[in-house]
């Protein structure tokens, strides 16, 4: 197939700085989001995802300015997530230069929000971010549930049913994070990825757990992901985007080189 699989570096930002923690602890400063976005874009990143982990109002204004700065210098798609709760939040981010917004917690509390957002702005810019955790015991058939609050609060919602429902409501893409794997560097939850990807028609971005370049390949080949998202392996210089794309291409995956 000619359509390339995508590599998406993810910037977790707090008050205008890129940070990266392991399971939401031990947060390390990784630099300026505009500089980093530009560097990744020049290196061949296929998209950029910017997740705002700032809770304060002042911090949100900083975020809007940061998105404006990135969009003025980086000419690849930009997804913004974190704290998107209202149609006004979506409009603000799109006007600042985001191409897509990622909706997570707000969808769990009010699923109709996704339907309204897709109807107003188009499915192409609505990414449903879902944090899933395995709840089946060993030996049982696989089952995952949606969690909120950084993986601390269970919702009782089955991940596969949730994915199908959100796509039916108009989500144009799913950003699927395994809360069991996030920050562990032990690879994506491939069974989760495959189960979600095979049950919906829209593209899936696999997230959570990348520690090696082979993990990226596994996400596509075994996890049936259309795009792979990673943060720390790129931020701390373990691998470059070029190396990642080259490696995936050598394993037979169609990439934009």
């Amino acid at each position: 197939m000619a359509l390339a699989k995508r590599i998406i570096p993810c910037l977790d930002c707090d008050k205008g700085r890129v940070v990266k923690g392991v399971k939401f602890l031990d947060i390390r400063d990784a630099g300026d989001p505009v500089e980093i976005s530009k560097r990744y874009s020049d290196a061949g990143a296929d998209e950029i995802t910017f997740l705002d982990i700032t809770a304060s109002h002042e911090g949100r204004e900083t975020t809007v300015h940061t998105v404006e700065s990135i969009a003025g210098q980086v000419f690849i798609p930009l997804t913004v997530g974190g704290g998107i709760r209202t149609l006004e939040d979506i409009r603000t981010m799109l006007n600042a230069g985001a191409d897509k917004v990622a909706i997570n917690t707000a969808a769990v509390f009010n699923p109709e929000f996704v339907r309204e957002a897709a109807a107003r702005f188009g499915s192409q810019c609505i990414v449903l971010a879902m944090d899933a955790k395995r709840v089946s015991a060993q030996g049982q058939s696989d089952r995952w549930e949606i969690f909120t609050h950084g993986g601390r609060k269970a919702t009782g919602i089955d991940a596969i049913e949730w994915a199908k429902r959100m796509v039916a409501f108009g989500a144009g893409e799913l950003l699927l994070t395994s809360m069991d794997r996030d920050g562990t560097k032990s690879g994506f939850d491939l069974a989760l990825n495959r189960a979600v990807s095979d049950s919906v028609s829209v593209p899936i971005i696999a997230s959570g757990g990348v520690g090696s370049l082979q993990h990226l390949v596994d996400g596509v080949v075994e996890g049936h992901a259309d795009a792979v998202l990673a943060a720390s392996i790129f931020h701390f210089g373990e691998f470059t985007i070029e190396q990642a794309k080259q490696y995936m291409a050598e394993q037979g995956i169609t990439m934009r080189l």
């Binding site: 000419f75 230069g97 191409d99 188009g122 144009g172 829209v202 899936i204």
Partner: protein
């Protein structure tokens, strides 16, 4: 000063297109507008669009953009992008059938070539199921020479995001073709009009080169 008008009918992210154009040329002045006078006073015009075509066409007609576009293409270069390209066609299958501007002969169709459980599905010829929307970087084969392809290698990847695609009437000219389950027109040229299904403003080097070429284009092919 090279004056560019980006037609604003309330659909989609015009900021990206404006920023990319400003990045491409030093003496470029970009105005985002729905006003006929402003648009007709520009040297060249961008006709963008994202989202559902029924909503787009409703706004295009309500604001009189249909008449503005018909006038623009008589006198100056126009670049259609994504739904802005689809809107030039005769009609779309989207939302149960929508009449478009009819400035170029052809149809807008849903990415589907089969059905499973009564739902449309798209499959590659080898049987592989394809995701819809068609989202990401795909190859554009240049099928006719054009000034807007200057400096862009044949087969360059551009960024797409769409669920509907264009089939052109044989009397029209496809400037570029892309394959995703089906072959579709990724670019077309007709007189003063060049239109692309992909997003040049999001397609990095190749996209910025195409926008630079548009800024220098006199409308002749």
């Amino acid at each position: 000063m090279n004056k560019v008008a980006v037609i604003d009918y309330g659909m989609g992210n015009l900021h990206s297109v404006a920023k990319a154009l400003e990045h491409c040329g030093k003496n470029v002045s970009v105005t985002v507008s729905s006003d006929a006078k402003t648009i007709l006073a520009a040297d060249r015009v961008i006709f963008p669009g994202v989202g559902a075509i029924r909503d787009c066409m409703a706004e295009i007609r309500r604001l009189g953009i249909d008449e503005i576009v018909a006038e623009v293409i008589q006198t100056k270069p126009l670049l259609g992008i994504c739904v802005g390209m689809q809107a030039l066609m005769e009609s779309s299958q989207e939302n149960g059938g929508v009449d478009c501007l009819g400035l170029v002969k052809g149809q807008v169709k849903l990415f589907a070539n089969g059905q499973v459980d009564g739902k449309p599905v798209l499959r590659e010829s080898d049987g592989e199921a394809l995701k819809v929307p068609h989202m990401g970087w795909n190859i554009v084969q240049q099928t006719s020479a054009h000034p807007l392809w200057a400096g862009i290698a044949d087969g360059t990847r551009f960024y797409f995001v769409h669920s509907y695609y264009i089939t052109l009437d044989p009397s029209e000219t496809a400037a570029g073709m892309t394959h995703y389950g089906v072959d579709f027109a990724a670019a077309l040229s007709k007189g003063n009009v060049f239109a692309v299904q992909f997003h040049p403003e999001k397609s990095q080097h190749g996209g910025l080169q195409l926008l630079s070429n548009f800024l220098a284009w006199n409308g002749e092919s």
